[in-house]
Structures are given as structure tokens and as C-alpha cells.
Symmetry: C2
Subunit: 250 residues, 2 copies
Amino acid sequence: MSGTTLLPMTFAPVPRASVSDHVFGQLRDAIVSGRYQPEDTLPGERELATAFAVNRHAVREALRRLQQLGLVRVSQGGATRVLDWRVHAGLDLALSLARSGDVLPVETLVRDMLEMRACVGIDAARLCAERGDPEVTAALVRAAEEYGTLAPDLDQMHDANIAIWWLIVRGSGNTAYLLAFNSLVAGTFAVGDVPPDARAAELLDVAGHRRLAAAIAAGQGTAAAGHARALLTAPVTTPTTPTTRREARA
Amino acid sequence: MSGTTLLPMTFAPVPRASVSDHVFGQLRDAIVSGRYQPEDTLPGERELATAFAVNRHAVREALRRLQQLGLVRVSQGGATRVLDWRVHAGLDLALSLARSGDVLPVETLVRDMLEMRACVGIDAARLCAERGDPEVTAALVRAAEEYGTLAPDLDQMHDANIAIWWLIVRGSGNTAYLLAFNSLVAGTFAVGDVPPDARAAELLDVAGHRRLAAAIAAGQGTAAAGHARALLTAPVTTPTTPTTRREARA
DNA sequence: AAAACCCGTCTGGTCCAACCAGTTGACGAG
DNA sequence: CTCGTCAACTGGTTGGACCAGACGGGTTTT
């Protein structure tokens, strides 16, 4: 317990990207940004290896990840072809899309993810109320109680908020919702500066979260959905100074 | 055109899985089925390589894919640890979950995916009506027209149905919806025998799809959402022999 | 001339062997 | 007992070699 020197917690662990991570990132950006069009043939592995100045194995590992994401289709003997990510990529791509922001405007992607969060969250709240495990709902009420104690600190509230919604999604018993929730959380984290201030109003609405938890614990699906809607649709409909924040692209 | 012998189209291309695909599949199943618990340490790469009787690179490529899915966390120097997929995996895992059905009951997963499809589809229809590109809505009306001509053939209707919904989701302008839709479609395909008969009622409702397309083309968001709900919630609410099928948990 | 075939050469797939680079933990010096 | 050191892990990277499937152009056949 002693011996650990106190450090400012503003330090983030230095990201140590491996060689194949770099290759993956560059190829991913090149594909999602359209520099490689669908059905284009990627350069051969050996050629890519020399171009990136890395070993061929590193290129192969990167290609495997791209294949897993649905960005390329590799076939022995034939060339590796680029797929249309709008057709073949799954929600996990949102994370990658967020990281390399030059694909489509970051704020559009954020809006999309918030919309989806609302859509899924509302239904998850309803389902959690209707078929939620008493244990989970109890934990939810408890979490909603403790949520208020973090009142001013938005960062802590953000984490606690995610924990609350994780309980709700988990309690809905819908695995697809759970996985989609994870994808959205990861994507939101990746985009970094998500909530300008619209999220703040939602996060600070302690009473709203408490009402939501109560409705779920009471098994009132419709009421729970209503409270969830009140919480989740606010950021989407509130434009928050429309035509500002458009820099960071030059 | 000549020379190609006529073949019954019931033949499916033989799946040629590479070595790393096998390794990936086995490790994935071992993890999602719980044979490896979260925080467990996976055997070393060299050990896995000898266990699978393959080269270490094949193991590494498989591990990269698992990492991409959010199933493991690898760190140089330290051991590769198993992550809790319910926390770290994204919606793309649904496909893997469907493939190795021993994780959770297949029909539960199908129900979850249908629920999510309804949730997303309804909102996408509303958004497509409200902010859909005229080109897309026109194509949608056209697709809905042609949809009826495939009347009896359920397989063709299934494909055409996916095409229609792809247009709607695309027209909604929400990239997250689009990616989630792709994940769900892939997962549904992977599960194979999706629609017992509940889907049939939905697929055969040609008029319903036409109404939906018309509402979207007219820009009537609420009406579109209503028609979408009518189409999409039927399979979910229809229990198909209610209190049966509850086994597969012992 | 047109169709069928064959084979060189390209692609990715797999393997072996070695070494680099962090992490961990046990062991010995203080 | 504490602390530094170091050996023994772990994954990360490299090079080279060979196998297997696909493609394309040239040759043969019709």
C-alpha cells in the first residue's frame, strides 16, 4: 500500500503500437477513406511488406484483422480485394471509423451513435423492466442511488452512467443489445471529445436516472421506456449552437 | 455461355478453412463457451502451436482476430489473457456466437437479433422518411414494387427483403444503423435455419412493404415507423408454441 | 477462326529457425 | 526485511524457403 508515489491522474498510459498495428491502421484508413475503392485489388503481401518496410508476417496479421472487420476479402491464389464497408462491415467498424476521423464528419458519427444509443437504450429499458432479473434491478436501483453522490464530477458521472446503462442492457436479457452497447461505448471512447455540453444535461439529471431505475424495478415497461427516452433523446434533438465546432480538419 | 453443364443450384461452395481459421474457431469457441474464464491466461503461443500442431504464425494470426473481436488481450512480455466478451466484445461477435451455437441457445440469440432488428428498423424507417434522399426513396418504392413479383419463392423474397431494408437503413443516413444492420444480417445468415414460419408471414406481406415504402417516399415519418413496426414486431411477439423449448440449460 | 488445353508465373498459405523486446519472479546482496 | 539484479519466461519481429491455388497467355486442337 505504501511506496507508491502519488501521481496526477491526468497521465495516460503511452500507447505502444506494434508494427502490425501501424500497418493495420494505415490500410484501414486507406480503405474506409475511399483511397481504395471496393473491388480494387490491394497490392500483394510482399509488395506491401517492402512498402511498409516490415516483414511479410506483420502485413499478414494486419490483413487478418482487416478481414475480420469485413474490409477486405482474401483468397489464396487470387489477389486481396477491397470490400465495400457499407455492405460488409459490422458495427465494430464504428470504433475504427471514429479513430480515423477523415472518413465522415466526426460529429455526424457521434450523432449517429447517440441516435442508436437512444433507440437501443429505450427498448432495453422496457425489456429490463418487463423481464429483468430482480438481482439486476436491485443493483440498478443501488447504482442510481450512488450516482447522485458523484454530482459535480462529470468524468466520474460518465463512468457511472455507463455502468448504469450496462446494468439495464444486461438486464434486458438481449445479447444483441449488450454487444451493440459495447460497440457504441467503445466507439464513443475512441472519438475522445464526445460530449460538448449536451451530454452534460443528461448526465446531471440524477432524478431522471432515479426515476428510470424505479420504473424498471417496479416492472413498468412503458414508464421505463418513457424515462429512458427523456434522458436519451435530449442530446440528439438539442443542436447545441448549430454551426460551431467545425475546425480540427485543416 | 455453352459448355457449362447445368447443375442443381442446391450445391453450396465447399468451405475451405485455412489452418489459422481452425485455430481461431476453436479458441473462439473455447472462450465464448466459458471453457476459458475471463482473466484466465491462455497458453503461450509456442505451446498452442504445438498443441494444434501448426506453426506459431498461424496461432498468432488467430490471436490477432480474437483480439480484434475483443475476446483476448495480448501484451508483450506478459501472458495473453481472456476478456469477458459480455463486456469487451462488439456486435460483430453475434456472428461468431451464432456459428458456435453451444454458447447460448440459438433461438434466444435469434430472438435477440430479431428484437434488435425491429428496434433499429423502425427508427431507421422513421429517419429515412424524415431525411431520406429522394433518389434512395425512389429506389425503395421501385424495390417494393418488384418485391411482389417474387411472390411465392421465400428464398428470393428473403434476399429482396434484405435489399429493401438495406435501402431504408442506408436512406436513414445513420452509419451506426447501417453497420448494425450488416452485423445482424451476417449473424442471421450464420445461424442458418432462421425463420421457422414466423418470418414467412412477414415476408409474404407484400402490401405491408408497399405501404412502408409509400410512407417513406411521402416523408411521413410516424406512419413509416408504424408500418415498419407492424412488419417487424410480428415475428418477435408470435411465440410459436409458447411455453415449449426451454431446455438446453441443464 | 474459334475453342480447348497447358504451363509459367503470379497470388496467398504454411512452415522453420532465429533473434529482439518487454515482463515476471526468484534469488542474492545490502 | 528491502531492494536491485538477472535468468527465464512471455509476445514481437525478421528472414527465407517452400506449398497450393488462381490467373493469363501462348500453344494445340477442332
